[in-house]
Symmetry: C2
DNA sequence: GTCTATAATATGATAGAC
DNA sequence: GTCTATCATATTATAGAC
């Protein structure tokens, strides 16, 4: 299997950088490597991104687009908070596991956790807040246990995102299977009676699986990691001499 | 509050590097920075460590010492598997949160996840296996739900270690409070009847709190992060000229 | 829009004086 | 055991030709 260029150099750069940043780290990845993997020369990167960190910033912003959209769609639906919590969790995990390269891992880069990238962290805290509000409502209606709200939110959100660190894309386990199991586990953490889980799962499947489908990254554009590390997406462009 | 030298330069180097690696990342931290924070000159580092990565390797190895020891001590005790699982989880989290700098975050560095540092990953997989065996036994005795074993292990272990990413050392929340809540949450993920939790908690407190205490890093050597970033632990050594 | 060439700087590691 | 000095190399970003 081989990379295919989007014919959009800018997208090729983002895809190459996404792969390299998540596997090697930000500082360890040189602009030369990114350019080579995108079929460009080092200097040409700066036609599309003024600085290296702008590439990272754009990739980071994209990681929150899906959960934000999912949250917005759920907000318009008439469902119990615990059912929404299940659907948000399952969709969020499914999306995290979806792409070819583990983009969620960008969040864990030390360079990202330094107070820079404030606009990203702002959006991200809105995602956390979506969880928090649902948990709060579930506690109010007595379906969820009366735990300290912020601690419960950290535990649930932490469990969801832990999939970033342990899911193995080369394993046999299916993405939807893991998403389902993780969402169920998240609910068990906060549920007063874990026997409610069956009811919640059923209620979640009634609206159809549109929630999971509608915004998730398309599969199938997975590169062969081993190959893509060395080969450029496409051969170098015309220019004077390659 | 101010750093105090151990008078053991080698330990000072490790402490400084631990702080810098976890906050800035490995590649982003220069040997000059480490040396300065440890009260040495750049070249002098290489008297204690042949290469930069040896500093990281030693720090990594130390992060598994505590859970390995705890596991060994629990193995000798006569307790139900679910009680051991609770004690292992609580002690593990308590230790993760204990040190002044979030050493667990070293595990998440992209440079560490590249197949190098094999001896560390070997030991780490033994820790995961300790969880796995306890979960397996709990399923066999019908106290834990009959989930797929490896998936359940990933969820539990992932939840435990998620504290690395979300616990805020500057917050008001106490370390033992979070350890207790996280261990309880981990059990709820796998417990057949979450009503068992009270019994487990009580059984866990009978052997005394020796498990949590005996090996945990001593608190109180916390540096002021803001200050320590710029100030050396101690002023430069005698040498010819500083 | 892509290339080549280069500036300005930072890096890990070594050699050798004391 | 610590320092100074230095080597060889790699880095991001810019300038200017085509």
């Amino acid at each position: 299997m081989e990379w295919k260029s989007t014919l959009e150099p800018r997208e090729d750069v983002l895809r190459a950088a996404g792969w390299l940043f998540t596997t090697q780290g930000y500082t360890s990845t040189s602009t030369r490597e990114i350019a080579a993997a995108a079929g460009l020369r080092q200097g040409s990167l700066f036609h599309y991104f003024k600085r290296k960190r702008d590439i990272l910033a754009e990739l980071l912003d994209r990681t929150v687009d899906f959960p934000m959209g999912l949250h917005a769609r759920l907000a318009e639906m008439n469902l119990e908070p615990e059912v929404k919590l299940y659907l948000l969790s399952r969709g969020d995990v499914s999306n995290i596991l979806a792409g070819a390269h583990n983009l969620g891992a960008l969040t864990l880069l030390p360079e990202v956790r330094t107070g820079e990238f404030a606009s990203f962290w702002e959006k991200r805290s809105q995602v956390r807040d979506a969880y928090r509000v649902l948990i709060e409502a579930g506690i109010a209606s007595n379906v969820l246990d009366d735990l300290e709200l912020d601690l419960a939110t950290d535990l649930v959100f932490g469990l969801i995102e832990s999939t970033i660190t342990w899911f193995d894309r080369s394993s046999m386990r299916g993405r939807e299977e893991v998403a389902e199991a993780t969402a169920s586990a998240a609910l068990r953490v906060v549920l007063r009676d874990s026997g409610d889980l069956d009811r919640i799962r059923q209620a979640a499947n009634l609206p159809g699986d549109w929630v999971v489908r509608s915004g998730a990254s398309k599969d199938g554009e997975s590169p062969s990691p081993a190959a893509s590390r060395l080969l450029p997406i496409r051969s170098a462009r015309q220019g004077h001499r390659a």
